[in-house]
Symmetry: C2
Subunit: 336 residues, 2 copies
């Protein structure tokens, strides 16, 4: 199922190509310029020439570092002194914790009580040695994390950084596409995974600025196709938390800043099934020797499974991250 | 257990730095210049600065492509017309099959009847469309593969390329270390996995030519420490096929050409256990998002587990390959 997006608005978008250029300057020497990988098998399967931008090799294992660091690097001295707060059970938490340590500011991460021990440990590890930094646990069944986060932010004078609906976060994420196109040249098509839309919106702005003819495609899990629905209806649709392996795309709705960018600059949004994600995950392990988390497989699954035909095209594929619990990963690889 | 190697011979070695330079020219634009990866966690654990040369991202998934292609590229027109024969149950088979196809020559691979189906399929896939190319199966319990290989070579006029004890193979493998040092600069120490010694010997020649002070360390599985024994005794020791997860290092002895190079240029040979290999394999998956086969973990395990202390040093670590059956890999990751 695919949906064409009308270019139906001419209001200014939340971010511009200049914001992404500025973000690249802030990230220089701090974020990794991640490698671009090729696979002759993937090219043979799809008939295209595929360029995989490997954000699984980014610091803390996901593109989220780009946006988090870019946002924190723009704090005023007073903001930096008080620090940052974020609520996240995923890569955003680790991205904020690491960025805060690098910039020498306190961080408070509001995380579910029942988060995987490895994620809590990783976040605390990034906070190590950083004063006034902590993980605050909440009960996801009885407490409202947003209310808790806002209360803590107010009490402590901390700045709340949301995971996607924020201009500096969006601009930071867009640097992934900017680097890719700088390295490999113009693309016919760029595929990007899609949860809240921060990565997709940022990459769309960057890519369309560098090669205006590129078709930018967002890829959602079939079970959580809220953006596809939103584009069809012309307004942001809210859905129940989707049941999908792609835990990074279990968002209930995209953002008020990301949606207009997606409406204007993204050619279409397509969906893939969990089964297709697992096939792509195995392909990455077997043929490209890379560990990719389920969410990170969204864009690749769409091309490898033929959801988006790319014969004869030069195609960018963003691999968003590689953070997956090893036991869970082993189970998915084994198919048991 | 470690063994110091005497520099006890002054006979000319089988290969020189010039051979490696020539091999680099032959491989230019054909082999991948594989990425060098970093891990701040690995640096913190070891106290050194580690540079991982990722031959798991090499064509066909292992460094073996370098040596195979270099050897085949030196065939005379008559040799090329008749083609190449090799016996191997591992990466050497696929490396020869792919190199032969790229150079447009026939290849015959002698492989055990009970090879994993995936390996047979991969080898045949590389041979596809190549005339007079085939996989010849033998029964490893009743047939002598070397005799079979020699008979076929003679009957068909084909040139036999052994997996390690061959000057062009050794020179080709050495290009991995040459590239690494070119990219990152001089190293204090270089760790290389060790089976028959082709990779170690080639890398030792390259590394010592580029930075004469570098300490080159070979790493064997504990169960198959034939080279350690050989160095202690001053002659090549033959052992029974060792029981180890590192199937690429299940050699019974090193080569007559590789051993003198190792004696002269390698500082020491150390061993790691299978348990240490699995820990390193998990480290690569969890922290560096890479699939590394057990043999490919040998060198890394030696530093991560503190077998070779590297505090304050600049250290090269060769990751030899990433070809591991997915089910087996999943089982090892899960630890069940």
């Amino acid at each position: 199922m695919t949906t064409k997006t009308p270019e139906n608005t001419r209001l200014p978008l939340a971010i511009s190509a200049e914001d992404i250029t500025a973000a690249r300057e802030r990230l220089r020497g701090v974020a990794h310029q991640t490698p671009v990988m090729h696979s002759s098998t993937a090219d043979r399967i799809t008939g295209g020439q595929l360029f995989f931008k490997c954000e699984n090799f980014q610091r803390m294992g996901a593109f989220k570092f780009r946006g988090a660091y870019n946002a924190l690097a723009r704090f005023s001295p007073e903001q930096a002194r008080c620090g940052v707060i974020a609520f996240s059970s995923g890569n955003h938490a680790q991205a904020i914790a690491l960025s805060a340590r690098l910039l020498g500011m306190p961080s408070v991460l509001v995380m579910p009580q029942d988060s995987p021990a490895a994620k809590l440990a990783a976040t605390r590890e990034y906070q190590q040695g950083q004063p006034r930094s902590e993980v605050v646990l909440y009960d996801r069944y009885t407490e409202d994390r947003e209310a808790l986060g806002r209360r803590l932010a107010q009490e402590r004078g901390m700045t709340l950084i949301p995971p996607y609906d924020h201009v500096d976060v969006m601009a930071g994420q867009g640097t992934a596409a900017a680097e890719l196109i700088d390295e490999v040249g113009p693309l016919d098509r760029l595929l990007v995974c899609l949860g809240g839309g921060g990565l997709l919106a940022g990459c769309a702005v960057a890519a369309r600025a560098q090669c205006p003819e590129v078709q930018v495609v967002g890829v959602e899990p079939l079970a959580g196709n809220d953006v596809q629905q939103s584009l069809a209806l012309g307004h942001i649709v809210h859905i129940d938390t989707p049941k999908t392996l792609a835990d990074g795309a279990q968002t209930q709705h995209c953002g008020e800043l990301t949606f207009p960018v997606i409406q204007r600059l993204v050619s279409e949004v397509v969906t893939v099934t969990d089964e297709q994600l697992v096939k792509a995950m195995r392909f990455f392990a077997e043929r490209m020797k890379m560990v990719v988390e389920p969410t990170g497989c969204l864009a690749a699954a769409a091309v490898l499974e033929g959801v988006v035909p790319v014969r004869g095209e030069r195609v960018g594929v963003i691999i968003s991250g590689g953070n997956v619990d090893l036991q869970r990963y082993a189970t998915l690889l084994a198919g048991t």
